[in-house]
Symmetry: C2
Subunit: 427 residues, 2 copies
């Protein structure tokens, strides 16, 4: 039985579900602004994950621990904060209780920051086991294992068709994640692995990036998208634009009517919000995001806030994008709203996202970025990308280690974390 | 079907099974001495594992990749060397073929360096699933998960008996691995984790080191064993000497007649050689080690060498110990024997182990060591331990990263790799 967080005192109890970018920022801001309230953070894992670098774990450049920090370590100085590792199963809005698989907990204010997962558009059951997404460490480890094992198996395989299939890697979806992943796979394959194998013909390696829309990085300005496309092609990635995926099997993928035998298929083609909309019975958009009010509360529930990838809010006629800076600003905003309420102040301004720009990297020395109307691409954009990602990495030690491993990869084309984990069992 | 390594040419083909300390040294020496022979290295994983630091992975100080290097990366400059990731299932000594699960391969010379695994002394089936050993990365990840998850569960548990059980960690076997692991668990528990939990009573944490013999580090001189014992006790480890384990269940362990409820039990009480003795039908000792001749060949098979933990050889009236320096010296020795044979030289001197000394570390600033009659203990011995282990780490990048992570852990009591991987599924 889980410890019940119901206090006998009159202390306000704020519960945060999810310690991603949004939830963690809310927790840190509340710890600073309101050291006397009681704060509980619930997450189903024990660590905050720096998702933007997951593709580097999947391609063996970084270790899982390099992009993960224990949540309770980040919040260790906040003596009013309790961290619980558990899975939330629902919310009793009438009783104001969060239901977990091994207990429940009451709240006065609730902040839901439970993120999103891959959207297979009605094919989750058939396609997810065959084409993992890239949303968590298990995904990244699984992709790493598939990539590295494919080369090991191709080294000893004599049937040319099987070799071709083993060395075909298909990434579905050319948003930032797909573009970054395809570029990193190309570098892993051609630069790091190929020189160490004796029997692999480079001509057999085939890295595809398959996209239903006519351009990659659809949310980026045309000119940048075009530059990223050229860079990907230079790395050896075969781009298939305007090519919807029709079927995925254990042997390959059908895309744009063409049958492509492929050993490794990775799905980065869309996201679906967490189940929070169902927990609350709240109105959602097609991707399951809860339509929140301008103060990020759920209509009819001034005590429940939703933020990040689980919420949708219009700004300047467009929904806010599902990226880390939005979630982080929302986390801090929610903390300030609760602070005002507890101080019986008038409600403040509605949430407004201050655009920090967008960036995506292609390979080891090229990125595209734009902030407002300013656009840049190439090596300098990549340096900017590098700095931003290292600065936002939680934990000083992680920053140093990641910087070191990147320097090493950059100088030597070597990859640190080439472990084939969870090998198939043959015992 | 695996590529068949049978050459039409008359080139000599040397096959090495296992890329641990012994196999890898043999491969490197043969690459240097005999660049014109054909060399194949077979291992069931893709990486060489620095086993002496596995306990640091199990206690979240290092990441798996920090102590692993891809075998083919180590051997990449040897153009005559092919690395195969596969599982060996047997040896056809008459046909001189190594049988793998997906093919077979012929040899002129065979070097078997397949190591050892945990010995549960007749209880493997019942005890192994409950009390993992510490021989590979899967073990280390499993132990790490158990340790970290126990604290997470204890934080929300209200039943005092269950809390006690969750926070009881029993290490069975007080050889160097058990001593190092128990010390590292104590530091992880008291120094790194405890300050970050809100509901855990330090008095409930119970770390046991259970040993059937009357002293820890049985192979060390008495005086050093005593010093290590005091140091372990200072760290908070409860030593149970002369206490044989009688039973292991899902709920705990019976040792010396006492029932000890324990959530985490780790087995480091003995080793069993790999199945190579059965493959060859060769004479072995009780632990399954093949009794090799003084040139490390198998009696009756001058073309088959066995080394490291899979072999046993007497020197000065005692069997050589199963430690990395023995395996490494044997690997280089075997390379020189094969070199002499191919050059039609007279056979050289029998193998003689040059003793490099023994060391074990207890916690973060104390070690015991002896070389011949010289004995030392304390901080200086620990610095020596540190240097030796970093120098022998394969891969420059690994050395730098490990040194950095150790410095960080040492200065801050922080542990880098506190990921709970493979969480229980509740979907």
């Amino acid at each position: 039985m889980v410890r019940q967080q119901d206090t006998a005192t009159n202390e306000t109890h704020i519960v945060i579900i999810g310690a991603g970018f949004g939830g963690l920022q809310a927790a840190l801001a509340l710890g600073k602004k309101l050291p006397d309230v009681q704060l509980t953070v619930i997450d189903r894992t024990n660590h905050h994950l720096f998702q933007p670098l997951l593709y580097q774990v999947a391609t063996a450049a970084l270790s899982p621990a390099d992009i993960s920090t224990p949540i309770r370590h980040v919040l260790r100085e906040q003596k009013n904060t309790v961290v619980i590792m558990s899975e939330v199963t629902g919310i009793d809005v009438a009783q104001k209780r969060v239901l977990m698989r091994d207990g429940s907990i009451s709240y006065d204010y609730l902040i839901i920051a439970t993120g999103a997962h891959e959207n297979y558009f009605g094919h989750t059951e058939e396609w997810q086991p065959l084409a993992p997404g890239l949303k968590n460490l298990d995904n990244a480890r699984e992709i790493r294992r598939k990539l590295l094992l494919a080369f090991e198996q191709a080294e000893v395989e004599t049937d040319p068709e099987r070799v071709q299939k083993l060395l075909t890697f298909a990434v579905v979806g050319a948003g930032p994640t797909g573009v970054e992943l395809a570029g990193a796979i190309a570098e892993l394959a051609y630069k790091s692995l190929l020189p160490e194998f004796r029997h692999i013909d480079p001509a057999r390696i085939h890295i595809l990036l398959i996209e239903a829309m006519p351009q990659i990085l659809g949310s980026f300005p045309r000119s940048l998208s075009k530059k990223a496309r050229h860079e990907l092609q230079k790395l050896g990635v075969d781009l298939r634009l305007s090519t919807p995926v029709e079927e995925i099997t254990t042997d390959g993928v059908i895309a744009g009517g063409e049958w492509i035998p492929a050993n490794t298929i990775i799905w980065t083609a869309g996201v679906q919000a967490s189940a929070a909309g169902q927990w609350l019975g709240a109105e959602t958009d097609r991707a399951g995001r809860i339509k929140v009010l301008s103060d990020l509360t759920v209509p009819g529930h001034a005590e429940i806030f939703v933020l990040g990838d689980t919420a949708t809010l219009m700004q300047d006629g467009k929904p806010l994008p599902g990226i880390a800076p939005v979630a982080m600003q929302q986390g801090r905003y929610v903390a300030s709203v609760i602070e005002r309420r507890l101080a019986n102040k008038q409600s403040g301004a509605p949430f407004h996202y201050r655009n920090k720009g967008y960036m995506a990297t292609v390979g080891r020395a090229f990125a595209v970025a734009y902030i407002g109307k300013v656009r840049f691409s190439g090596f300098l954009a990549w340096i900017l990308w590098l700095l931003v990602h290292i600065i936002y990495l939680i934990g000083y030690e992680n920053r140093l280690i990641v910087l070191m491993q990147w320097s090493w990869s950059y100088l030597r084309f070597q990859r640190h974390a080439r472990i084939i984990s969870r090998p198939e069992r043959h015992e």
